[in-house]
Amino acid sequence: MTTPSARVLAELTDLLRDIFVSPDLALTRETCAADVRGWDSMKQIEINIAVEERYGIRLTSREVDAMRSVGDLIDLIERKTK
């Protein structure tokens, strides 16, 4: 059975593959911006907007500033979509 975290991770992987135009992109909870070529602040904004639209949530400035890894983003999405 797929856990909610694994489902969100899979969805985020699809989302980021589109954004980075990289069909082979693999993410784990520990993945951070430095691990992905081209993941700069401009891309992070694109990701935040895509996440907000995909999950119908709002990420605040403080939440965005505190995010350090894909795992942080997953936790945030899960908390906000409960």
């Binding site: 700069d40 602040s41 992070q44 904004i45 694109e46 605040t60 400035s61 403080r62 500033d65």
Partner: protein, 375 residues
């Protein structure tokens, strides 16, 4: 009826100033209303008693060749400001509370003895009116913390040696877009905060409009355009409402402009939302590099920020005046939460005079250390 505050606009399409106008005004035009003759009068209502007020004026002067407007403003017969009006930025002045009447009208008189006629000063001009100031807006509001009579010099702090500290220091500030130089300096130290104006350039008038309207319509597609500049492949964005120019970091020969426009519209909306969240939470020290003729210009900008949070903080940066070159590298507190820093005129090939990265760091560290000491 007494008022707590008053915000007057003078543009024909949104003017609410008419009930307060005395003599010395022409009819309202789109965007402004010209003063007429050598003085113009506003008969303001009584205000509820306060320890102090701020008067903010946004106008631009009629300065044909050989003429420079000088304005003296009196309130109930007492001069509260004498200045050369700048072309775009608003200017604010502290007004002692005991000067403001709560039991009768407050007579505000703008004396502009250098009013001139376009017909007499500009070849081919047929306008015979005597013009001095094109008034755009005037605010009168309570002010709990006036400008210090003698600005306080902050103890100078050296730049941090630890790169992580330098990065955190840079992240504590949010640029208000005089140009992209501070955004690039943040990048130099590894800081990548999100900022609507971080890689942007806009004039004071656009900034003021944006702060007053929460950058309404900043994501409107029909206001966005993109162009390249000489010797560059990068597409630069422009938002027409705010005359906001900014970097997209997208190359013209690799980019579908329609697709870019759609993405930028969403991005600008998103960043505007974050900008005001940071302002409303007092999460950042806002920073603007520019030419600030008077502390009143910095105060006017600070008051705009404080409409969003009572402790909003602002650092304005400028080169020191010629008579006070020793201020370079120093920061003064103009009033609580409002700082003015001075930098050495390092010649940057792109920006012209501009602080070097370590100088940025020193100025920012000085403000942050001072704030920590106050907390």
């Amino acid at each position: 009826m007494t008022e707590d505050a008053l915000h007057l606009t003078f543009s024909a399409d949104e003017s609410n100033a008419d009930p307060w106008l005395g003599e010395g005004w022409h009819h309202a035009e789109v965007g402004h209303r010209w003063t007429d003759g050598l003085l113009s009068v506003l008969r303001l209502p009584p205000f509820n008693p306060q320890p102090g007020f701020a008067l903010t004026i946004q106008c631009w002067p009629f300065n044909p060749p050989g003429v420079e407007q000088m304005v003296s403003i009196t309130l109930n017969g007492v001069e509260i400001l004498r200045y050369r009006p700048p072309h775009l930025p608003p200017v604010a002045v502290s007004v002692p509370g005991d000067l403001v009447r709560s039991d009768g009208e407050n007579l505000l008189v703008l004396h502009h003895p250098h009013a001139a006629s376009p017909a007499l000063t500009q070849e081919g001009a047929g306008d015979t009116r005597m013009l001095a100031l094109a008034m755009k807006a005037l605010d009168f509001q309570p002010l709990d913390e006036p400008l210090h009579v003698a600005p306080r010099l902050l103890p100078q702090v050296g730049p941090p040696d630890d790169p992580a500290e330098a990065k955190a220091l840079m992240e504590a500030f949010q640029s208000m877009g005089q140009h992209c130089g501070f955004g690039m300096t943040q990048r130099h130290f590894g800081a990548e905060p999100f900022g609507l104006l971080r890689f942007a350039s806009l004039y004071p008038e656009g900034l003021v409009k944006g702060l007053r309207t929460r950058f309404a319509g900043v994501g409107d597609l029909d206001q966005l355009s993109f162009q390249t500049f000489k010797n560059s492949r990068e597409l630069n964005g422009r938002h027409a409402t705010y005359l906001l120019d900014y970097h997209t970091f997208r190359m013209a020969d690799e980019t579908d402009v329609d697709d870019l426009a759609r993405k930028e519209a969403r991005r600008l909306n998103y960043l505007a939302r974050l900008f005001f969240e940071q302002l409303e939470n007092d999460d950042k020290i806002f920073l603007r590099v520019g030419h600030f003729e008077t502390p009143g210009e910095a105060l006017a900008l600070h008051l705009l920020l404080r409409a969003y949070h009572p402790r909003a903080r602002l650092l304005v940066l400028d080169r020191p005046p010629d008579h006070a070159r020793e201020r370079a590298g120093r920061v003064i507190e103009l009033r609580p939460g409002l700082y003015r820093g001075y930098f050495l005129a390092t010649a940057d090939p792109v920006f012209g005079p501009f602080p070097a990265p370590d100088e940025w760091l020193r100025l920012c560290a000085t403000v942050v250390a001072y704030e920590r000491g106050r907390a």
